[in-house]
């Protein structure tokens, strides 16, 4: 567990619309929302389905597997936390459940990341209250 006082990167605000997602991450589970009325899946999580405005929300447990949709190796970021972590890989991962999420690719050299690479979720407990879903190559 990282020391909260030393963690300088931005932390998500966990609110009524998003807490189901973040609490699951703390249990090392990744969820995608699905509308109970029209069936549309969505990420990021929110209370009402943007496709039909229904509030009948189901949570679908993700396999945690997906592929890299696109990525960038970041060599410059002046903001606190990130400037000490360069270079790092920012990526959209397309989950098997059909939605893409912004994340980091970890567990390999940044220059080894490729579009289409199969990846799986790995959870990073960055503070006692926040766990971030990141992804690593499936070996």
């Amino acid at each position: 567990m990282a020391d909260e006082r030393k963690y300088k990167k931005p932390l998500p605000r966990i609110d009524e619309e998003s807490k189901g997602f973040w609490e699951a991450c703390q249990r090392h589970e990744l969820y995608v929302q699905q509308c109970g009325a029209c069936g549309a899946r969505r990420h990021y999580p929110r209370a009402l389905c943007p496709s039909c405005l229904s509030e009948d929300t189901r949570w679908v447990l993700s396999s945690g597997r997906g592929t890299v949709y696109t990525y960038t190796v970041t060599y410059q970021n002046q903001s606190p936390g990130f400037r000490d972590a360069l270079p790092y890989v920012l990526a959209y991962v397309e989950l098997e459940e059909g939605v893409r999420l912004l994340t980091n690719i970890v567990g390999c050299a940044p220059e080894d990341v490729r579009i289409g690479m199969p990846v799986e979720v790995t959870f990073e407990d960055v503070t006692p209250d926040v766990t971030l879903p990141k992804f690593r190559p499936i070996s």
């Binding site: 998500p12 060599y75 970021n77 002046q78 903001s79 893409r100 912004l102």
Partner: protein
């Protein structure tokens, strides 16, 4: 549908400064307002509508106070760097509807002298989607890089093709005495510059400067008594693109929606357009915008920008002022697109003048291309 040539651009002014530690942002707004009103032959007392962005949540009121305006129409539409392009469309609509007659649009920024890291500062707005992005470190630059990487993967676009855009626009900057960077560069120079966020090199990125500008939009009736020949607002439209519940195709831009609408409103086809001002935050922004506006098919942008096509003397000259890549980029560049297009249509551009320039298209992109962005297209004509 349309403005029926009832709204015209009567005055424009690009502040020549690129570095102004001796001026405030509000002062640059005011100096720009003076310049555009002088250009139009109007006085500050004629202004009855005011538009601005980039000045804080209700900064439009502070700016109105700073200029002691009493407008009957206010618009602080804030959709990123494209805002000022949208302001022109909004002003034209308000004028055509009789809500106002003389609209002043101003912009000012001291981003460079305040050392503001426009593209690599990791800004965090704090709205719901930001909480699912900011923890992973998306810089503004990084979000455009995500798009560039995907474009290369899907279509085989190369770093050298992107570099060609920077080289062409730098060549144009060499013809603009107030452009910040005027020395020619080569494709090899771009490829040899450091990678800031792969696959984008430093010279694929816009520069950071201070600066500002202003535009005066008025009615065609009023224009008869003014100094300069009118430039007609023929069509305008806006759109936005976001992550679409996690399903967006990153090669689609807002321009794909706003471009055809603005062109239909203006009644023009691609072949009618003599020059374009395309927001060039990064080289990839230009390439994707040209595709999404329909100047070439998706995936063909890399070939389209080769062989001098987008340079002065080519079939579709773009960013003749040197753009954000080489002339100026104080954080929100939309206003300069309209200013340069207006000067081109008036024939005021000297060595960088596009011959027989009758119709110009401006397209502003605001926000972050790979996360959320806006598009504002404007079609202007001299008759």
């Amino acid at each position: 549908m349309g403005f029926n040539r009832e709204a015209i651009i009567a005055g424009v002014y690009e502040h020549p400064t690129r570095w102004a530690p001796d001026k405030t942002m509000f002062q640059i707004h005011a100096e720009s307002a003076r310049g555009a009103l002088d250009d139009a032959g109007l006085s500050i007392k004629d202004v009855d509508a005011y538009f601005t962005s980039g000045v804080g949540p209700i900064g439009v009121l502070s700016m109105a106070e700073h200029l002691n305006l009493q407008p009957r129409y206010l618009d602080s539409t804030s959709i990123g760097g494209s805002s000022f392009v949208a302001h022109v469309t909004h002003a034209a609509a308000a004028i055509a509807a009789g809500l106002c007659e003389v609209a002043l649009i101003t912009y000012g920024s001291t981003a460079s002298s305040e050392r503001f890291a426009v593209g690599t500062g990791g800004a965090f707005a704090g709205d719901p989607p930001d909480h699912f992005e900011a923890p992973f470190g998306p810089t503004v630059l990084g979000s455009y890089a995500l798009v560039a990487q995907r474009h290369m993967h899907e279509f085989g676009t190369t770093a050298a093709q992107l570099a060609e855009i920077a080289v062409t626009i730098r060549r144009h900057a060499g013809l603009n005495p107030v452009a910040k960077f005027r020395d020619p560069i080569t494709v090899e120079d771009v490829l040899a510059s450091r990678v800031v966020s792969s696959p984008l090199h430093l010279l694929d990125c816009c520069i950071i400067t201070d600066g500002g500008g202003a535009i005066v939009v008025t009615s065609a009736t009023r224009a008869r008594d003014l100094k300069k020949a009118p430039v007609y607002v023929l069509g305008g439209s806006e759109a936005c693109c976001h992550t679409s519940m996690g399903k967006r195709d990153l090669t689609d831009m807002a321009a794909k929606q706003s471009g055809p609408r603005a062109m239909a409103m203006a009644g023009v086809a691609h072949a009618d357009i003599d020059m374009c001002m395309i927001y060039d935050s990064f080289t990839i922004t230009v390439l994707e915008t040209l595709e999404n506006l329909g100047f070439c098919k998706k995936g063909e942008g890399g070939a389209f920008v080769q062989d001098g096509r987008i340079g002065l003397g080519g079939a579709l000259p773009i960013n003749t002022d040197g753009g954000g890549l080489s002339s100026n980029h104080p954080g929100m560049r939309g206003i300069f697109l309209v200013i340069e297009a207006t000067k081109q249509l008036r024939g005021e551009c000297g060595p960088r003048q596009v011959k027989d320039c009758d119709i110009a298209l401006c397209h502003g992109t605001g926000g972050t291309l790979g996360l959320r962005h806006s598009g504002a297209t404007l079609v202007l004509g001299r008759s």
